[in-house]
């Protein structure tokens, strides 16, 4: 196996239970910084993201949580002038920030769900066919894979009779669950959530939150959220971002229980108690 990522053949040989694999990967971040031309958005990040746990990134707006999250699967590459320095290592040794890393296979292994649901403006079925075909699934396996993940996100019974209809016609909450299913379909080892509930109504938000919680143990989850109550409910670990000297950084991290109840950093403490931020 090379250091740039698992190949599909290896994945196919992995014995699967109940239709999907249960491999999760840990992430080890050290000395990470994200720069936009001359501006440093995030700096000095050291963080261990253990496999199979839910890590919540919290903190006020503009402190670099999203920049950090997007650097974990190199989506920062899309932004002209953006540069990431430091190390992000997957548990199999893959160095995310290395220029030779196969970005496409990295993004299959480290999936992402965005703030605004973004299904492709095509049929529900095509939303799965396009990425699955791209990553080497055989055409005849695609319907089963799609059904499995749509059941996992609780959408199958709602939409199984209109898979040929446009995904854009679904409600916001359904669209977001579709996007989660689409990311899960590729059998990722890590899944990143960038404020996945903030564009949804409270009920849909609750459904999505439960869904993310249910991924615990099977996948490594990293979630950026502004909803502290949500972070408290679902996170195993938490990291508090804060702007120090104009640069976003992590001022407190550890088990969620301790971070939320007994933060040692004064900025983190005042933010988490609602006094600042």
């Amino acid at each position: 196996m090379n250091s740039t990522g698992l190949s599909r053949e290896n994945d196919a040989e992995t014995p699967s239970s109940g239709g999907h694999r249960t491999v999760a990967a840990s992430l080890s971040v050290s000395g990470l910084s994200v720069h936009y031309r001359d501006f440093t958005a995030v700096g000095g990040i050291d963080l261990e993201i253990p496999e199979g746990e839910i890590t919540a990134l919290v903190g006020p707006s503009g402190c670099g949580k999203s920049s950090f999250l997007h650097s974990l699967n190199r989506l920062t590459d899309l932004i002209p002038g953006c540069r990431v320095a430091g190390s992000i290592r997957l548990s199999d040794g893959t160095e995310v920030t290395h220029p030779k890393t196969d970005v496409l296979s990295l993004r299959r292994r480290v999936g992402i769900v965005f703030q605004r649901p973004n299904p492709f403006p095509q049929s529900i079925r095509r939303n799965f066919e396009i990425p699955l075909k791209e990553h080497g699934w055989r055409k005849r396996d695609i319907p089963d894979r799609m059904e499995t993940v749509l059941r996992e996100v609780g959408l199958w019974n709602e939409i199984s009779d209109r898979l040929h209809k446009s995904a854009i016609a679904l409600s916001g909450g359904q669209q977001q669950r579709l996007c989660i299913a689409r990311a899960l379909a590729l059998e990722p080892e890590v899944i990143l959530f960038d404020e996945p509930c903030s564009a949804l109504d409270p009920i849909a938000s609750g459904v999505v939150e439960d869904l993310i919680h249910s991924l615990r143990g099977r996948l490594t989850v990293v979630i950026v959220t502004h909803n502290l109550a949500q972070a408290r409910r679902i996170a195993d670990r938490a990291a508090v971002f804060w702007v120090r000297d104009g640069i976003g950084t992590i001022v407190e991290h550890g088990p969620a229980e301790r971070v939320f109840t007994a933060p040692s950093n004064p900025d983190a403490a005042s933010y988490l108690s609602g006094a600042r931020g």
């Binding site: 970005v103 973004n118 066919e129 396009i130 990425p131 791209e134 040929h164 590729l186």
Partner: protein, 291 residues
């Protein structure tokens, strides 16, 4: 209860709204009237002569009688040549501008500037260019090929501009969505961006077809005057618009024939445009639902 605050000025008068609505309706009516009058006038003069023999027959007596069969074929062949070049060229150029080069970079500014300048070049200049470049330099002579390629250059800016704005109008989160799933740029462009932009691209193509079919000046020196049945793209062939021009200018007592030809040209534009729209809708629906 507080008394209502006294107004410094009375509310804007309602009659102004009404006057504006009336003025708008008048302008709309006049615009439609112009179109209706044009079609009615053409139909009044030209419709009586239109028949199967007119559509398929050869020109007789310099165009005073007979039909327009060879011209119809030449016109369609010119259009085929034109579209075969302009669709890949125009979409390719727009794709490069929107997906591969940073907006505002020197290269992008140069290309868009060049394309926009091309749009303001008078068609007679394209005709002269086509005659020299395609006709003489590339040795295509007076031919349907020369004419079609010249038209392609002429309508290229329309296609680039409409395709570019269609691509730029796509939801901004489509690109991160596809990148986040690890799709290659090619897959993203071919399977997501182009299908989503297709309605806009088709608008560009139909506008271009309209321009191309009605063009006269660019064709006179390139595809020429021949009224024989064309046997290949290398033959000279007279387009319908050139025929109308010729009848009106050079052939006395042929006004009714010119009207009939114009009527056929109008119908042709309508048919080709609806075909393009129907085709794209069919294609979109198929992509949406199956495979």
């Amino acid at each position: 209860m507080t008394p209502p605050t006294p107004r410094a000025r009375p509310v804007a008068p309602v009659w102004l709204d009404r006057a504006l609505a009336f003025a708008g309706a008048t302008a709309a009516l006049l615009s439609f009237g112009l179109f209706a009058w044009l079609v009615w006038d053409l139909a009044r003069l030209g419709l009586p002569r239109i028949s199967w023999t007119f559509l398929t027959g050869e020109i007789e007596d310099a165009g005073r009688s007979g039909g327009i069969g060879p011209l119809l074929v030449s016109t369609l062949l010119i259009l085929v040549c034109c579209l075969a070049l302009v669709i890949p060229l125009g979409t390719g150029c727009a794709l490069w501008l929107s997906e591969f080069v940073r907006r505002g970079s020197l290269a992008a500014r140069l290309v868009t500037g060049g394309v926009d300048l091309l749009a303001s070049v008078p068609s007679i200049v394209f005709g002269l260019f086509g005659m020299v470049f395609f006709g003489q330099t590339l040795k295509m002579g007076f031919s349907i090929l020369s004419g079609g390629l010249t038209l392609a250059c002429m309508i290229l800016p329309i296609l680039v501009r409409t395709t570019l704005s269609a691509l730029e109008a796509l939801p901004a989160d489509l690109r991160p969505a596809s990148a986040g799933l690890g799709l290659t740029r090619t897959t993203s462009i071919v399977k997501l961006l182009l299908p989503a932009a297709l309605p806009g691209i088709v608008v560009g193509i139909t506008l271009g077809i309209g321009r191309a079919l009605s063009e006269t000046a660019a064709l006179i020196f390139t595809s020429g005057y021949s009224i024989r049945w064309p046997s290949s793209f290398w033959d000279s062939g007279r387009a319908l618009s050139v025929h109308i021009y010729d009848l009106t200018l050079n052939v006395p007592q042929s006004g009714a024939m010119a009207s009939s030809t114009a009527l056929v040209l109008l119908a042709l534009i309508l048919v080709v445009n609806s075909a393009a729209v129907a085709l794209s809708e069919h294609w979109l629906r198929r992509r949406h639902q199956t495979s």
